[in-house]
């Protein structure tokens, strides 16, 4: 996929510019924090979406908040674009560098500043790994609820930027529901605190708009997160279905019964076939789809909920039902779901993970449409996803060494996202727009809506130097993509069946 950035600048200009920026940076951070030789900056050329690559002009790894302030002031003065980076696990190219810009790596901000079991809060630096927070809170029987599958690696700064979610989000909410306060540096080098350790803050809810803003509005330097008490018990039901639609109906049945499970995930037949040899979780390989449905809470609550959930699944036509009998078994049931991405990596030279959300009632129909696309594009696609909140993650298997395979994977992915919009959903549920889905933004939003997004961007970063060319497409870009003023019913692929 071609990296659609600014017009290339000539090598000499870049070299001169690079020397100027490096020299300036060395005045504000120690020498070992600045890198610019190709072998030094190569590791930063992409995030978790390696289809988009670009070498940054300079990489800087600040160690203190005041260095971040100085770096941003300097970049503003020299008009250099800045891209913040956490752990680089993003899947939409959000942390992809700018060829003429500074990549601001926040990895050295890795301290848990304070963990207060009495107030159930932790104050952490942005480079702290998601899982490290729960590990630090474990001795107090507390944990940090949002649990992206990448939680061993991804940083809380990246989670804030992406409003990351995970298996527990159906019941415990996304990052936005679990972060109390963010301290950030604006492109002017000023510090702003959004939210507070009280339950709200005066004025507009800037924290809510900052979370999920993909590094476009400011650089996070500190985060206060909410910790929640660990439930006494968790158990998971694994249920098999012989049609994806029946499985999707069973999901609706659970919600209709007034139950909000701690996690409700679906894997289709292709996914279990890929994953089972890898993890040996004991998945039913004959099922068209399996559901993993978790209950957590007091032992009494769990017993009551598991009984009700089992009842719903039985009435929905589940062909096999298993309830985890031990913690080890619960983890084994989840292992396949949690390792689906690496397993896909073994089954195919490359895979492309999409991320769209649809209303739950459309799950069955959209999965069938994806099966039809598999035939049309002559490609395999596995589905493992957050069924409880309609957040799909189709994994398109392809071969990056074959340009035709890449092109088909790209078109396949775009068609899925546009279908999500068509059925009342969105082009991204949790991975962000980044550079990857910028064209589909033109499909989901009108010109006026994109204008409003630009307005938000201007209010925080009037000069537009933070993470430029990402997330919010320019009008020219949408015109090029061929879709301005797209309304329902005038989308691409008119030949597709309408739901």
């Amino acid at each position: 996929m071609n990296a659609p950035l600014d017009a290339a600048q000539d090598a000499l200009t870049i070299a001169r510019r690079q020397a100027e920026v490096v020299a300036a940076l060395r005045h504000v951070v120690p020498e070992h924090c600045v890198m610019y030789r190709e072998e030094e900056v190569r590791p930063y050329e992409c995030d978790g979406l390696s289809l988009f690559r670009e070498l940054p002009m300079v990489v800087v790894l600040p160690e203190t908040e005041s260095q971040v302030q100085e770096i941003l002031r300097l970049c503003k003065r020299l008009q250099v674009p800045v891209v913040a980076r956490g752990a680089g696990t993003g899947l939409s190219g959000g942390a992809m560098p700018h060829a003429g810009g500074v990549l601001l790596g926040m990895a050295k901000f890795n301290q848990i500043r304070r963990l207060d079991a009495r107030t159930c809060t932790a104050v952490v630096q942005p480079g702290v790994r998601n899982l490290a927070i729960s590990e630090a809170a474990a001795p107090y029987n507390l944990y940090y609820a949002p649990d992206p599958s990448s939680q061993i690696a991804c940083s809380i700064g990246g989670n804030v930027a992406e409003n990351s979610g995970g298996v527990h989000c159906l019941k415990y909410g996304l990052t936005v529901h679990n972060v109390l306060r963010v301290r950030m540096v604006t492109m002017d080098g000023d510090i702003a605190e959004l939210g507070s350790e009280a339950l709200d803050a005066p004025g507009l809810d800037l924290l809510a708009v900052f979370i999920g803003s993909e590094g476009m509005l400011g650089v996070v330097t500190e985060v206060t997160v909410k910790l929640v008490p660990k439930p006494a018990l968790a158990q998971v039901i694994m249920a098999s279905f012989d049609h994806v639609e029946t499985a999707a109906d069973a999901v609706a049945g659970i919600i209709a019964a007034g139950i909000i499970p701690a996690g409700l995930e679906m894997m289709d037949k292709r996914a279990t076939a890929i994953v089972e040899p890898f993890v040996q979780a004991g998945y039913d390989l004959d099922a068209a789809a399996i559901l993993l449905c978790e209950s957590d809470g007091t032992p009494e609550t769990v017993a009551a909920e598991i009984a009700r959930m089992t009842d719903v699944f039985e009435r929905s036509g589940a062909t096999r039902i298993q309830v985890s009998a031990s913690e080890a078994e619960r983890l084994r049931f989840w292992a396949g779901r949690k390792n689906a991405f690496p397993a896909a990596g073994r089954a195919s030279p490359d895979y492309y993970c999409m991320d769209g959300t649809i209303p739950r009632r459309q799950v069955g129909r959209v999965l069938l449409a994806i099966q039809e696309m598999e035939v049309r594009y002559d490609m395999r696609c596995a589905n493992v996803f957050h069924a409880g909140d309609g957040n799909l993650h189709p994994l398109i298997l392809f071969d990056a060494n074959d340009p035709d395979s890449v092109r088909r994977a790209e078109d396949f992915g775009a068609e899925i996202l546009e279908l999500c919009v068509q059925v009342g959903g969105t082009v991204t549920g949790e991975h962000g727009v980044g550079i990857e889905k910028i064209n589909q933004m033109c499909v989901q939003f009108t010109r006026e809506e994109l204008d409003a997004f630009h307005a938000v961007k201007h209010a925080f970063d009037p000069g537009g130097l933070l993470n430029p060319n990402k997330v919010i497409p320019t009008l020219a870009r949408c015109a090029e993509y061929g879709r301005m003023h797209v309304h329902a019913g005038e989308l691409r692929f008119p030949e597709l069946p309408r739901f």
């Binding site: 604006t186 507070s196 007034g258 969105t426 991204t428």
Partner: protein
């Protein structure tokens, strides 16, 4: 487009052209909050009705003028609720006013605030254009979350036409427990409970003869509520009395709330007693209603020193509100972002000018 909508658009376009502000109102129930409106009234109460409701999607979409009463009774028929338990402050309260003020009720500390439940908004902007942000799905990170920033914006960025909110199943059972306890002890007790997996979904402390009274509400499956009760002791409050209690707290019909001025002090929940004046505590200690004649600066600096802020929720008089401002002053960097947001969304300043801060 229906005639109500075209009328609203025409009025906004006219306001924009003439530079004459409009004062957006729903049911007029929260007129007391913030500074007085200065423009021509833009009445939203007729722009009402449920747009879509799909109980298994846990989402309801309604026009902004729909009353909370109508919305809540529809949800109740389906065993669901607005989990942030918004205060009405009168029978005419509308969904638009509820979201524009962003107020939440007793369940807030357990379930989240109004903004946590807003999934999407249709907005009429300063140019009379209709914009859609967010939608009806639970997870959505496409573009910036403008619907959440509209929550609590007091109508200063535009007119909300439709709102989609996430709803939740009503708990199977609820039970309220009561304890005789002083303020400091109640705050300690709430903090200790907060760090354990207990089904507490509301809490309050009020002064009472010779001390005070702590109440908590447990919600969940019958067995979870029973086991919570066994662990927590206390006296059971009869169901009807309990419902009336949480309602009178949410709607501020207790005699305590008649005091003027009435401050809302928002602090980290474990903060010890404020000693500013008579106090009612909610949200595990996070929300303190204070009746005091202390100067505004004293109340605000006390709140700020503790990591919180203070709102002059019900001023003694309009003059007082004008003199000291209703909302806590913003830090200069954050104020700058506010000013730019206002001028980007509403360059002519036609929407509820000065309602939140004089300069917006």
């Amino acid at each position: 487009m229906d005639s109500l909508l075209s009328d609203l658009r025409a009025r906004v376009i006219l306001a924009q052209a003439s530079g004459k502000p409009v004062s957006i109102h729903g049911g007029g129930t929260k007129d007391f909050l913030g500074m007085k409106g200065t423009g021509t009234a833009l009445d939203m109460s007729q722009y009402a009705g449920i747009v879509s409701y799909e109980p298994t999607e846990l989402v309801v979409t309604a026009r902004a003028g729909t009353t909370l009463v109508e919305l809540e009774s529809l949800l109740a028929e389906n065993g669901q609720m607005l989990a942030f338990e918004p205060p009405h402050f009168g029978p005419g309260a509308t969904l638009g006013g509820c979201i524009a003020t962003g107020l939440s009720g007793p369940r807030r500390a357990a379930a989240g605030s109004a903004r946590d439940f807003v999934l999407g908004v249709k907005l009429l902007d300063a140019h009379g254009r209709m914009l859609t942000f967010g939608g009806e799905v639970m997870k959505n990170v496409a573009g910036y979350d403008v619907s959440r920033i509209l929550t609590g914006s007091l109508g200063m960025l535009g007119v909300m036409l439709e709102v989609s909110v996430k709803v939740l199943p009503r708990p199977e059972r609820e039970l309220t427990l009561r304890y005789a306890m002083l303020e400091a002890a109640a705050i300690e007790r709430l903090a200790a409970w907060g760090a354990q997996p207990l089904p507490i979904t509301a809490s309050s402390w009020v002064a009472a003869d010779g001390g005070g009274e702590l109440r908590i509400r447990l919600s969940g499956s019958p067995s979870a509520v029973d086991s919570g009760r066994a662990r927590l002791g206390g006296d059971v409050v009869p169901a009807a009395e309990a419902d009336a209690w949480w309602q009178s707290l949410r709607e501020q019909t207790l005699p305590f709330f008649a005091a003027r001025p009435l401050w809302r002090v928002s602090v980290p929940p474990v903060t010890p007693p404020l000693a500013l004046g008579d106090t009612v505590i909610e949200w595990n200690g996070g929300q303190r209603w204070v009746s005091t004649t202390q100067p505004a600066e004293a109340v605000r600096s006390a709140a700020a020193a503790l990591g919180g802020h203070a709102t002059l929720f019900r001023p003694e008089s309009i003059d007082e509100a004008r003199r000291v401002g209703v909302f806590h002053p913003l830090d200069p960097v954050v104020e700058g972002i506010h000013r730019r947001l206002k001028s980007e969304f509403d360059p002519q300043g036609i929407f509820n000018p000065g309602r939140m801060y004089s300069y917006l």
